[in-house]
């Protein structure tokens, strides 16, 4: 597969620093890094190493000081705020440590949320939502509210929400961080399936070495700089 080796994410000379008063704290320093299409990448490193910031920059929810991030053909570091939001809606799926489901919406409605930003009809949306809930094995729980689901089930709903728009990349920030071993294993298997069966590109930040094992590639960040393992 020639397509598989073509990088979907290209990061060039990326730098970011936080400012506290007059103090400048560098978080990322001159990062250069490609991620191939269909790859499962784990970003590891100690707290404060900048791995979440890197993930946020790739996902287009944070802005860089210098350098560029290209996802597919789009240089997202150049997009304005509205365009960036539009780009996120179609191109990135988010998986969070604490699932971040909307508590007042049912599993079905949570998964449907990103589709409300598309031009799909109600019937088409229903088809998409049911299809992805089937993928994560929760089609029978679609009318349940998040509070009626276990942690593992909530994370599966969150994954369904992340993939419902069929985005190019999925970003996951500690997706197993709040789960017990068994649920974490289920989630990791599901993510593995998304990479293998559905050809998704997954970028995951994790502390958990067992989670990182599932990845094709582990990148270590230390004081804002990358090292390859």
């Amino acid at each position: 597969m020639s397509e598989a080796s073509e990088p979907i994410v290209r990061i060039r000379n990326l730098s970011k620093a936080y400012r506290r008063g007059t103090q400048v704290i560098p978080v990322l320093t001159d990062i250069n890094f490609d991620i191939a299409r269909g790859e499962f990448v784990a970003l590891m490193g100690p707290s404060g190493s900048g791995k979440s910031t890197l993930l946020n920059l790739i996902a287009g929810i944070d802005s860089a000081d210098q350098g560029s991030v290209l996802v597919g053909d789009v240089e997202i570091t150049r997009l304005g705020e509205s365009d960036l939001a539009r780009w996120r809606a179609g191109s990135v799926g988010f998986i969070f440590q604490f699932y971040n489901l909307i508590p007042v919406l049912t599993a079905y409605e949570n998964v449907e949320l990103p589709l409300l930003l598309t031009h799909l009809s109600r019937r088409e949306r229903r088809e998409h939502v049911e299809a992805v809930l089937n993928v994560v094995g929760l089609a029978d729980r679609m009318d349940h509210y998040p509070s009626q689901l276990s942690g593992g089930q909530q994370q599966r709903v969150a994954i369904a929400r992340a993939i419902v728009t069929d985005p190019e990349i999925l970003v996951a920030d500690e997706p197993t961080g709040d789960l017990d071993r068994a649920s974490a294993e289920e989630i990791l298997q599901l993510m593995d399936r998304l990479v293998h069966d559905f050809g998704k590109t997954v970028i995951m930040v994790t502390h958990d070495p067992r989670a990182a094992e599932k990845a094709h590639l582990i990148r270590h960040l230390e004081k804002g700089e990358l090292s390859v393992t």
Partner: protein
């Protein structure tokens, strides 16, 4: 498409207690707002329904009410013979020369004195007021010291009930009937024979004249001619306009009072709504971050919280209007500042008041929700997501 309305609605429902408490505060303000409008409406309706648009009232120029007016007998004769005056079935003109005097009577409850209008009526007076119907007893005999009392006066003032005796004009007057005038100002009057009353009150002139127009559309021409006639010092008004003018001072007073009260109260209610909405935003920082990450625009977040605040306001509006609707059961009396007499009327609710009240509550919700919603929409995504 933005964030679904159900999101805003269900968030309110999830925080039921807070929602109900905040909405009740707003409801109270809407209640005051609606009640004031209902009061003004009731007053205007009562006074306006008192008049009939076919009837013309003739008063002395620059007199604001019948009480201040006087029409000389020779002018009355001239006016009586104008061609615009309609003729009744009995061949007599449908015109009444009346006397209107204020007297002081004690209320049945509390013994407090209040002014009551005494109207000396003519043969045609009753025909000119189709709203007035005898309810009990009979009409006074011409030339006798007998009176009939309006229902509201009969109920509320001492000596005005059927069979009771009133003393005024240095004579005793027997109440021989009670009339029902619906929701009109006549319900707050006492009627008796005009000539008897003119003698009793030592009045050489009539107070006012009222007649039915043969052709109501000829009013403007009639008014112009009569008011320009050098022999006459009268002013012609349609009866409806006359009573509308009477209600104006009071209605304006009520409206200003109500508005001032409502504005002061609404500041409190708006602050309540703001606190509630700030709390709602603070509790949902992560949700806001998530929605933004998913690709919802700032304006969608703004709209969603504004809708939530509007719904909150409307809940208050519905509560307030619901409570205010019960005020319709209450009849109150107050001084009619134009005639200085007591006037009984009830709170009147109509569609326009409901609409205005709900609009007002929505505006309060909007004002209260604007700042919190703006704050929600301006959050930094990364910081919001970190708030977990």
């Amino acid at each position: 498409m933005g964030i679904p309305y159900s999101y805003s609605f269900r968030n309110l429902w999830t925080r039921r207690l807070t929602t109900v408490l905040t909405a009740s505060g707003m409801g109270l303000v809407v209640f005051v707002f609606a009640a004031t409008l209902m009061l003004t409406e009731g007053l205007e309706k009562t006074l306006v329904e008192t008049g009939s648009s076919d009837n013309v009232v003739l008063l002395r120029k620059s007199a604001n009410s019948e009480v201040q007016s006087g029409v000389e007998r020779y002018q009355a004769s001239l006016l009586e013979s104008q061609p615009e005056v309609a003729i009744g079935a009995d061949g007599m003109p449908l015109l009444a020369k009346e006397l209107v005097v204020l007297i002081n009577l004690k209320k049945r409850v509390g013994d407090k004195p209040a002014n009551v209008i005494i109207r000396g009526i003519d043969a045609a007076s009753l025909k000119l007021r189709p709203a007035v119907r005898l309810k009990e007893g009979r009409m006074p005999r011409p030339g006798s010291a007998e009176v009939v009392a309006g229902e509201s006066v009969a109920k509320r003032f001492k000596g005005c009930g059927l069979g009771e005796t009133l003393r005024f004009g240095m004579r005793d007057w027997r109440v021989v009937g009670v009339f029902d005038a619906g929701a009109t100002g006549f319900s707050s009057e006492i009627w008796g024979d005009r000539d008897q009353m003119m003698q009793a009150f030592r009045r050489p002139v009539y107070s006012s004249m009222i007649f039915r127009m043969r052709d109501p559309s000829a009013f403007d021409a009639y008014k112009a001619r009569v008011e320009a006639d050098p022999r006459l010092t009268v002013e012609a008004k349609r009866e409806t306009q006359y009573y509308l003018d009477q209600s104006e001072a009071m209605a304006t007073f009520l409206r200003i009072l109500g508005l001032v009260l409502t504005i002061i109260f609404s500041v409190g209610a708006v602050i309540g709504a703001t606190i509630t909405m700030y709390a709602a935003v603070a509790n949902r920082v992560t949700e806001i971050g998530t929605l933004r990450a998913l690709g919802f625009q700032r304006k969608s977040i703004l709209a969603s919280f504004i809708i939530e605040a509007l719904l909150l306001g409307l809940c208050g509006g519905v509560l307030g209007v619901f409570a205010a609707s019960f005020m319709q059961l209450i009849t109150i009396s107050t001084m009619n500042w134009a005639s200085f007499s007591e006037l009984a009327f009830s709170f009147t609710l109509n569609f326009s008041i409901v609409w205005k009240s709900l609009l007002f509550s929505a505006v309060m919700g909007f004002v209260g929700g604007a700042l919190p919603a703006l704050r929600a929409s301006r959050m930094n995504i990364v910081e919001a997501l970190r708030a977990t």
